[in-house]
Every structure is written in structure tokens, then in C-alpha cells.
């Protein structure tokens, strides 16, 4: 099955979004209580008010920069460790319990432990890193393992240089694993990063604003900030995946240039 029809199948349709917005609006009218369920119209109004303030953009930048840092550090570490593990079985064996532990331990435990050890200011970097690392590591390692052995044998017999083997044999087969891992990990990093901020309450973060909304039962704010997290997460995902594809294209062009 090709990727395109699958994407088409899971595409979000505008009519479906509108349907659920109407359901939300009707439910809020029926409940008639902003604390229990605020209407989507009020959320949009509140969001536009927030967007007019400098504090809003500062909070978005604060959270975005930290979650992005954690994500990129984890991608770099995950890819490197997967490459090393694919060569050295002992490294893979050594890392297996660590990765399993990071995957299995609840994110709340990590957050609390990290709060004991460090300040809350950069907590979301660590949490985002820990959530992304095992996803990238496992997927890239699976990708490396799934590389066609027959093509590698062909490359060995013809003595194709390592750089070309990586570009033409490894990369095309690893990239689908890497992309899908990034896609999953980007969403995870935002969920875990925001949760870390809600618990750690670093000053000037989106998490702090969410916590305040909870304390004051300010449901419009809660929904508005949640929308911000969803939008920022989607925006970040699109941007990262776009630039990743550009980087791969650039690397390919560089490899071709060297050969020719």
C-alpha cells in the first residue's frame, strides 16, 4: 500500500471539524455554564484577546524553544545511538534496559524526579528529550536493521564507497521509519512538555498559564491555551518535517555533486 492513499484516508475533512464544533456549541448551550463547558465562540474570542498581549507570545516562545530543544537533542542522540548500536551489539544490549525504562516509566515520575534534581525552568527540555529519545532510537534502529542485505552485499562486491552506500541504500530505507518516528515524537514532546510545565510551573510558560486557569476555574483560558498548544504542536510538526525533507534533499545533492 502506498503512503499517499493512506494519507488521503486519514485526512481531516472540514465538514467533520464543523460537525464537532456544532456539537460543542450545542453542548455548551445545553449545559449553560462557562465553568463546565465554554462555547467555541467564547474560546476564539478569548484567544484573540490573548494574542494581542506580549505575554502571550513570550509564553509561546518560552515553551516552544524548550520543547524544540529537547526534541532536536533527542533526535541527534537517538540517531547517533541507533547508528552505533547497529554496529556494536554490546552497545545495543547496554542501551536496551535504559530505553525500555524510559519508555515504561510514567512521565509524571520523571517530572517529579527532575523537579527534585533541577529547577523547573528547563524541565520541559529534559522531559521532551526523554519522551522523544526512545521513539527515535527504536525506529531508526529498526530502519537500519531492515536495510536490504542483498543490496549491501552488492555494494560490498562492487566496493561502493561508504558515503554512497549510506545515501543510496541506507537513507531511502531508513527515512520512512525516521519520518514516522518524528511525526509521533513531535506530538509526544508537546504533550509531555506541556504536562511538565503544568506540574513544574516555570515562570512565563504556557504550563504556568494553564495552571493559573485551573486554579481560577477560568475555563475559557484553559481551552484557549490548550488550542495554542495544539496549534503550536501542529505548526512545529509541519515545519520540522518540511525542513527535514529539505536537509535530506540537500545532502543527496551534495553526495551527487561529489560523485560527478
Amino acid at each position: 500500500m502506498s503512503v499517499e492513499p493512506l494519507k488521503e484516508k486519514h485526512k481531516i475533512r472540514l465538514w467533520a471539524v464543523l460537525f464537532w464544533m456544532i456539537v460543542w456549541q450545542l453542548a455548551s448551550i445545553w449545559l449553560d455554564s462557562d465553568i463546565l463547558l465554554v462555547s467555541p465562540v467564547k474560546v476564539v474570542c478569548r484567544l484573540s484577546q490573548l494574542m494581542m498581549t506580549a505575554a502571550f507570545w513570550k509564553a509561546v516562545c518560552f515553551t516552544l524553544s524548550r520543547i524544540a530543544s529537547g526534541f532536536f537533542l533527542a533526535v541527534a542522540a537517538g540517531v547517533t545511538l541507533a547508528a552505533v548500536s547497529s554496529y556494536f551489539t554490546r552497545v545495543q544490549e547496554l542501551l536496551a534496559p535504559f530505553m525500555l525504562a524510559v519508555k515504561s516509566v510514567p512521565v509524571a515520575s520523571f517530572i517529579i524526579l527532575a523537579l527534585i534534581w533541577f529547577s523547573s525552568r528547563n524541565l520541559s527540555i529534559l522531559i521532551s528529550f526523554l519522551m522523544v529519545l526512545p521513539i527515535i532510537y527504536t525506529s531508526v534502529l529498526s530502519g537500519i536493521r531492515s536495510v536490504d542485505r542483498q543490496l549491501l552485499e552488492m555494494a560490498y562486491v562492487f566496493r561502493i564507497p561508504k558515503l554512497r552506500v549510506v545515501r543510496y541504500i541506507y537513507l531511502p530505507q531508513i527515512m520512512p521509519f525516521f519520518y514516522s518516528a518524528c511525526s509521533v515524537a513531535l506530538g509526544m514532546s508537546w504533550k509531555a512538555g506541556a504536562a511538565a510545565e503544568v506540574i513544574g510551573i516555570p515562570k512565563g510558560s504556557i504550563g504556568e498559564r494553564l495552571q493559573q486557569a485551573k486554579v481560577y476555574l477560568d475555563t475559557p483560558d484553559l481551552f484557549a491555551w490548550t488550542l495554542v498548544i495544539v496549534a503550536a504542536s501542529l505548526f512545529f510538526e509541519k515545519i520540522v518535517l518540511y525542513f527535514m525533507s529539505k536537509v535530506v534533499e540537500k545532502c543527496s545533492a551534495m553526495c551527487m555533486g561529489k560523485d560527478e
Partner: protein, 191 residues
Amino acid sequence: MNNICVKHLSKSFDGKMVFDNLNMSISGREMTCIMAPSGAGKTTLLRILMGLESADCGSVSGLENKRFSAVFQEERLCEGMTAQDNIRLVMPTLGNQAVIREMARLGLGDCYNQPVSELSGGMRRRVSILRALLAEYDVLFLDEPFKGIDDTLKEQVIAYVKEKTRGKTVVFVTHDRKEAFDMGAGIIELL
């Protein structure tokens, strides 16, 4: 190029002997055909010679520091790449025009820019033959190279292979006696 000497070579998989105490001498700068029925270990022998498999015991000499080229039993092409790029992967110094010209000689003139995944079995086979012949090599290994090529084209491909490999060391494996005869190769029976 010296002869390739195989001495007391044995190989088994999971206790099942493929060949035992195999001895042979393959002449340099000639085409040698190793003939045997299916399952006699022809491909295993070729894999040992190419360094892809290790023997249980015995030795191979005459292949040290030699550059290899091969047509494998499978095409082993990079699916997402064009036929031309697959050839240039092993021979990047070869110009586009030269590749296209050689492809045309094997009836692949119209598909040089087509991904190999879109080519027929016979066309893919010819691409893999061309890739092996255009690479720089001291020893060429051919494992059932004409499998999947229809009879009308086989003659043309055989003539092309013979022309390109003249005076070179070629180890050719087949179970088809006619192919061995058409290639004009010296025959070693693997019993």
C-alpha cells in the same frame, strides 16, 4: 591475471554438506563456466569467491586485491532509482551519454530515465548485466545471468557480454549447457 585456485574447499549449512574437498583451477583472462545441477552449490561457491561467505575449510588464492563485478541471481537494483542511476552507482565516472549509448545496445534505450521498479523482469535483468559489465573489475562473476531474458533477446545479450568480456577473467555459473556453449566458455563440471 593469475589463475584462481580453489583447494580442498568444503562448505555445509546446518550440518548439510553443500560440497566437500572441492579443487579447481579457473584460468585468468578467460571465461570459465561452472556447470552443475540445481542445489549442487554453484551459487555458494561464487559467494565464497566473492568474499560474501566463508568456507568451512580449504583455501582460495588468486583473488587477493582484485576488483570484482557481478550479476547476482537476483537483480539487486535500488528500486527508487532510475536504470541509469543504478549503473552510475557502481561507476560514477561514466558519463550519461556513454551509459545511454550502452543501454540502447541492450534494447534499454527508451527507459534509461525510468525507475527500475517500473521495468519488466527481463529489462531489470539487462540493467543488472549492464551494471556489471560497465563497472571496473578484474574478475567478473555471473550467476545465471540470462535468467528471465526471453529467447529472442538472449542471443543479442550473449553477443554483447562476449564482446565486453573478451580477454577478461569471467566466472560464469549456469545449469544450461546451451548457454555455456553460446558463451564459448571453458566448462568445469561441479559434481
